[in-house]
Every structure is written in C-alpha cells, then in structure tokens.
Amino acid sequence: MWQIIKNEWLYLRRTRMLVGLSIGFVMVFLFSIILGNYQNQKELKASETAKKHLREQWESIEAMNPHSAAHYGTYVFKPSNLLSSLDEGVSSVTGNMLRVEGHVQNEMVHSEASQMQAISRFGKLKSSLLLKFIVPLLLIFLAFNAVSSEKQSGRLKLLVLQGASPIRIVLAKTVAVWLYGVLLLALVVATYSLLNIQNLSGDTLFRSLMVFVSYALYYFIITGLTVFFSARWQNSTVALTSMLGIWMFWSVFLPSVLLSSVEKWHPLPSRNEFKAAMREDRSKGIDGHNPADERGKELEKEVMAEYGVDSLYKLPINYDGIRMQADEEYGNQVWDKHFGNMRTVFTQQKQSMQIAGLFNPFISLQNASMGFAATDNMHHQEFLLQVETYRREFIKILNDKHAYGGSKTGDWGWKANNEFYKSVPDFDYQPTALGAIFHHYLLDVGLLLLWFILTLSLLFYGTRKMQLV
C-alpha cells in the first residue's frame, strides 16, 4: 500500500499543473491566514479601545444618582476570539455592541453586515471558507480518476497481476489524496498556532485539535466517495460530474434549504410579538418608577414591618432602591421566560440541523467548525447570558447603593461619589471552555465518524463490485 501512496505523491510532485495549483493554494491559505489574523488583532484592539473609552467615562463620573447611572448604563463589545480568524461563524451578522442598562435586557445591534452593501454570500476569505468549500473540490479533482484512469488505461489489470489487491489500490489512492488535504489542514492550524503562540491556551489547542479532526474526517469522506465513484464507474467524467453534483448539493444547496426549513419547523416569534409578550408580562409586575403602583404596596408594608416604622419616610434606608430592585427582579423573571423560550427554539433548531448531518456530512462539519472555533450561535448565546448576568449584578449594585447608600426615600437628588463608581466592576468576558459544552458537539463528530465508517464500507463494497475488465 505504501508503494501506491508513494507513487500517488510522486504524481502530485511531478505534475507541473498540480505543483502550481498547490503553490497557489498554499499562497492563498497563507494570505487568508495572515489577513484573518491581522483583522482579528485589529478588531480586538478596536474593541479594547472602545471598552477602555467607555470604562474611563464610567470611572470619571464624579457624582451621580445611582438610578440615573443605571439609565446612563454601559456598553459591552463582543471581543473576537483567537479562532474566529479561522472560522468567523455568526460574528458578522450578530452585531457587536450591547447596551447594559436598568429595566431592560437589550439585544446586540449594529452588525457588520448592516453597515455596508452586500459583498460575499459565503463570508470573508477566512481559512474556513477555503477549508470547507475549496479544499474538498480540490480533493475531488485529485481523486476522480484515481481508479478510473487505471481502468481506462488498462494499468489496473497490470497492478492487480503484480499483486496489488483492488482494496489495497483503492484504499491507498484514497489515503494518498486524503493526506494532501490533511497536509493543507495541518499547514493552516500550524500557521495559526505559530502566529499566536503567545496566546495559546489549553482550550485553544483542544479546540484546534477538534477543528483538525472534524475537517480530516470530512476530507476522508469526500476523498473516499470520489475514489468509490472512480472505482465503480468506467468513465472518469461520470465520476467527476457525480462528485461535483454531490458537492454542490451538500455544500451549496442543502445547507440553505435546511437552515430555512428548521426555522419553519421551530418558528421564532417576530420581534413585535416578542416585545409585546414581554411588555404584557412586564406590566403585571411592580412598576419601579411609579410609587402609586398598587402592586408595590405589599412590598412597602413588608419593608416597613421589617424596620418597625409606619411611614416610608421614617425608614433609615431609601425604599425607592428596594422597589426598583424588586421591579428589576420581576423583570428578570420575564426576560428569563421569553429569552429562555427563544434559546429553547434556537436549541431545537440546532438539534434539527445536527440531525440533518445524517443526510449531509457538510452540515456536521459546518456545525463542528463553527462550534469548535467558538463562533456559532450557541457560543453567542453563552456570551449574551454572561452579559445578562453581569447586567443584573451591575444594576443590583446600583439599586443597593440607592437603597442602602445613605439616602432616604424620595431623595432623588442624592448622589453616589466617584469612589463608588470606580468600585463597580467592569464586564469581564470569560470564554466558554470547550470541555464544558463538548457534549453539544458529540452528535456532529459522531455523525462525521458514521459517515467515515460508511465511506470505508463503501470502498470495501465498491472494490468487491469493481470490474477489472
């Protein structure tokens, strides 16, 4: 088998067109890696500068009423992670800033895509674009006549007669072409690692390894299927056109159809319905801004009883802060319910997409690639949850200051000092460790493995049925 693999590599090395193509490919890869990395650094710097700018503004608040500060609020920018330069995932469509303020859980807005006219339907020239779409095509081109050319030329008979069994020939041809794809993949991962060697963490390495494994499995599936067609059909052209058809169906046509379909199977509410439902639920709680609100009376009684006073104005604390926090906590339940429902729908959609990997391994690859690069919707939702947790802590700190900071009920003119504002912690994003959510991607990796086994079986079966004459 090794002899055949070696011979295939000699073919790659000695065919001028392929050498040229390989050099071109490596150049485009390096170009995309360097640009992607540069953009990543630029984005990180911009988001750090913006974050610093806003923090400075916050820390320069000399004196302000804590509730006014809750309305003044802050903004969170989604930092791009190291692997987003490999696979950008949903980053360009999800917006990049989120307002953190009292009374409301906001959504991310101002996506990059909304800031300019349309350019590319398949995203930027990231390595993932080349690895997902172009490298498989290259592998198809390298493998489509791997066996059929041997058959057409009559060499296959000679090879078999010389002792190379058909299965050895087919497997060796598959492995030889597959290794070419794996080498390109290794080049990408290694270059990224070298460029970012100082920032590499265990988690990043684990993620990179899983990206590598997912693509390597997919490449085997593509190469194996192409060699299978090449072995089954007498004509190279039929093998090539069949595989091109499969590539188009899997990579271009089916993902769009499936993504549109899962949104129909598990519909999301319209923004208007979503907001109206939240407004409706929110209106049933305490109105933090309205002292005359009947639903707040119960709380008033509780607090007065606790402090043993008969008037809010006799309280040693500021009741307004307590009422606003109660309002906030009720609001949190409403957000949890509605945003939670939305996340449930997203999860259902994701699961349906993952199951679709049964029919299309490209879907599993896409899920795995975005997931392991931490740029899929699941990671995005994790980020939003972290921001919301921060928002709740942030507002509670402000409301507590309003309540227990030394002011009395109704004293809206009271202001907390600069020291306090400096002490309010800033948002510190903790990237989700892959180990904690790896189980979500087991199905994708599992289906890729299943396709891998299926391809191997097809190769064995195809060889049995292969006609030598």
């Binding site: 002899q3 055949i4 011979n7 000699l10 073919y11 000695r14 065919t15 030329s153 009559g154 060499r155 008979k157 000679l158 090879l159 078999v160 007669l161 010389q162 002792g163 190379a164 069994s165 030598l468 004459v469």
Partner: protein
C-alpha cells in the same frame, strides 16, 4: 500448465468464448490467432482470473484460477496490447514500482539489465514515459513481465507497436523463456510472428477453437491461407 476445459463465456447473452478447450504445456508457446472479437482477449482475461467463465474450468499450474487467483497471479506474467505506464515516472521507475508491487526488490543495475534484455536502450531508461513511443512502452511492459520471473506468460498482442527489430528481439526472448521452462500463451493477429515463435497455433472464430496445428507442419504462406479460410468460413 494451462488447461482450459469446455469454457464458455457470454456478455449480455452474446457468446464471446464457446466450448473452448486447450492446453499449453510447460516450455511450450501457444499462439492464438483470430479476428477482432474472436475471443482472444476474453480467453486471456479468463486465464488472468479477471473474468469468470459461465461454465467449464480454467486451471493454471494445475490449480483452478478462480479459486486460487491471488496465489496464481504471482506466477503469471502479462503483456497487454497497449502498455500504459505512469507518464510522470521514468521507464526504470515504472519497472521498479511494478516489481515492488510484486514484492520483488531489484537493484538499479538489475533493473537496467532487464530493460536492456527487453531492448530498451540505456539512454532511455531515465526518460519520463510521457516521452516514450508506443514501442518503448511495450518494451517496459515486457520487462515488467520478464522481471517477474513468472512460470506462465500471457501475451495479448505483445508486438503491437514494436518495430521489426524489437519484434524480433521479443521473439528471441520468448523462445529463451520457453526454453527455460516457461509456459506461454500469445494472442496475436500477426500470422508470421506467431508461426515463427510458437510451437503450436490455434485459430479462434466467434469464440470457438476451430483449428489447431503445429507450426513446423506449415509454412507461413500456408498458415495464412488456412487462417483466411477459417475466418471467412
């Protein structure tokens, strides 16, 4: 050494070989003559184990080819009509590659010797096969079969594309192999070459062996006459 008994093979109902019975002994060269579609290549493919006969038995070295094809192929050398080699490898590299597939490792000088014996000049050994003529490719094909040191040789129009000198060298080589004990079956259109090289000659028509004769019994002209007679009938 080669024994075909009542072999029958049809493609989509159309018979390619019918009730074929023939034997080739050790050290003997049998030539199969026949027009296009007479069943020569089908017979060779059945002997190689690439095609299974619909009925009848085919044995090589006293073993049924379909039951021991893997083992028997180690002892069979094959030269097709068109030897298509890897164009990006040199003649020497092609020979080395095919030998290694058979588990044979020869030194460079041994490989060169094989090519020389088969008539490929030394200066062409390192050239890419893409630059070879058909005859040069054919010579490498012969060298591949020769280097295998097989006990049985199956040749399908081996002299196709060879110039008269090379063709003559091939005849000498085949005779040498036979004298060393090899069993050879050669399918060809070339009546004169077959008459010159083979010990026995069989004429195939529509898959049937219609005539069998010893080459010393007939002159080339007589053989041509007999052949045309059987073909036209």
């Amino acid at each position: 050494m080669i024994n075909i008994q009542q072999a029958h093979k049809a493609f989509k109902g159309k018979p390619a070989v019918q009730n074929l019975t023939l034997q080739v002994e050790q050290g003997e060269i049998l030539g199969l003559l026949g027009a296009n579609g007479a069943g020569k290549s089908t017979t060779i493919n059945m002997l190689l184990g690439f095609l299974k006969p619909d009925s009848g038995t085919i044995s090589v070295l006293e073993k049924d080819i379909n039951q021991s094809s893997k083992e028997l192929r180690k002892h069979i050398g094959y030269i097709p009509e068109n030897v298509n080699l890897y164009p990006y490898l040199s003649g020497l590299e092609n020979l080395d590659y095919f030998c290694r597939l058979s588990g044979l490792k020869y030194t460079k000088s041994e490989l060169q010797e094989f090519l020389n014996i088969c008539g490929l000049p030394s200066e062409d050994h390192q050239q890419k096969v893409a630059e070879y003529s058909k005859g040069m490719r054919q010579k490498v094909g012969i060298a591949i079969a020769y280097a295998k040191k097989a006990k049985v040789y199956l040749l399908d129009e081996p002299a196709s594309g060879l110039d008269p000198r090379a063709s003559n060298e091939l005849s000498v080589l085949l005779k040498k192999l036979a004298s060393e004990g090899a069993t050879i079956l050669m399918a060809s259109h070339d009546i004169f070459r077959v008459r010159e090289v083979c010990h026995r000659i069989g004429i195939l028509r529509k898959g049937e062996l219609v005539k069998e004769l010893r080459s010393e019994e007939v002159s080339a002209n007589e053989l041509e006459k007999i052949y045309l007679e059987y073909i036209q009938n």
